[in-house]
Symmetry: C2
Amino acid sequence: MSQTVDRALSILPLLAEGPADLGQVADRLGVHKSTALRLLRTLHEHGLVYRQSDQRYRLGARLFALAQEAMENLDIREIAHPHLARLNEQCGHTVHLAVYEENEVLYIDKVESRYPVRMYSRIGKPVAITVAAVAKLLLADLPEPERRALAQQLDYPLYTARSTPHAEAFLKELATVREQGWATDLGGHEESINCVAAPIRGADGRVVAAMSVSAPNVVVTAEELLTLLPLVRRTADAISGEYSGRTPVKDRTE
Amino acid sequence: MSQTVDRALSILPLLAEGPADLGQVADRLGVHKSTALRLLRTLHEHGLVYRQSDQRYRLGARLFALAQEAMENLDIREIAHPHLARLNEQCGHTVHLAVYEENEVLYIDKVESRYPVRMYSRIGKPVAITVAAVAKLLLADLPEPERRALAQQLDYPLYTARSTPHAEAFLKELATVREQGWATDLGGHEESINCVAAPIRGADGRVVAAMSVSAPNVVVTAEELLTLLPLVRRTADAISGEYSGRTPVKDRTE
DNA sequence: TCAGGCGTTGCATATTGTGCAACAGCCATT
DNA sequence: AATGGCTGTTGCACAATATGCAACGCCTGA
């Protein structure tokens, strides 16, 4: 691995916390100012870093554009979206789409009816992996050794009294989820919020994404929410069908 | 500027176009495979790049997380958002917030009432800079030489018959906008869509952001939309006041 | 079974990044 | 106004670091 690039990339999360000046960056990187300067310049040329009027550095615009483009190229998301929207119209609740990547689960789409605002607020953010219904589905499908290894290395924060407490409980829950083909989160993340989720599978049967419907129990009780399960599963299956129907490997030079 | 970092960062836009394997990356960078490998590995360790099951590389999850965090730390956005939402409630149309950065104008927030879906679709994407009402406001406030230089180097695509045709017309328009303190886009980007926009100013009077209301003329005519101008300007002024510190800090209880 | 393609590794070379020290510009202090 | 300190910037000599090569291992398809 490359030291220079490593240092340069370490600047990004650092700036994500907030603007910083040259000296601060150099200090936190543990390098000379002049070195930090050259790294920042290179990042700047690529638009990943922006120099605001007070001379401090911020994350730049191209970062958004890149994240943007990357998202639009996710074909699962594109295929799934109309289905999610339709489901949202039918039940009125928040609908999520999530994928697993590199020991994390993240939302890649969200349709929310009540508060159209702040929609992007959680897209791209890692999910509470030990409790979220979609996370259970995605992890349950991992190869057994990988699943076990991951479960061991995770933290198990007690968001609520119903949060998954430790690795054993989690693995047991994953086994159940794997068998039944759907998952729930009943107040495991936030006391008053319940979710039901279903898996989306590729042509080979492996889980490529998961979707969920969430609602606070002041609106519907957990039992009422569970009555939506068949609808959620049908939607997920429809997406699976469409996703696996298309040619799985799309090389433009074919 | 650092060559190694430069090469590594060049990989990102390349992958934004779509997944690529090691050979493709090496070719397009003009370096040896082993070099590309080490760069990709470093990017991978930082989560900017993800290796999917077919071994090809994609842009990774941390990119979203970074873009996310960077956004949330934009204080203008945070201050402006409740105002935008309120304006949206009052008039029902789409409301945008945009900033200028590095020869580009980009939307950093958007509130849309009719179709809550696909809200993020344009946030972060560069704006049609020669016609958008918000762009006119932001560019009109640049120092004269910079404004002129930028106007010359821009392309002037003819989206519609009413698009700004060339640099001279653009500079003239900017002068007008600068004087009157507001801007419009009447079908200059999409035939049927009109916008009115107003500037948001910092404590020193410089334009730090711009906001607009957009509506298709099947809903309201251009004249009707213009009647909203006072409301838009009041909203922008309210944000300016709060941003520059004149108005006491935001109270969330309204 | 073999051939071809792709990803991966260790290594010698010199290209590339590094830290130093000196310089320049800015603001606040006297 | 003049001074001192702070921050960003530049040129340079040195060596640490990235690079390309060639060889290897692995998988796929013939």
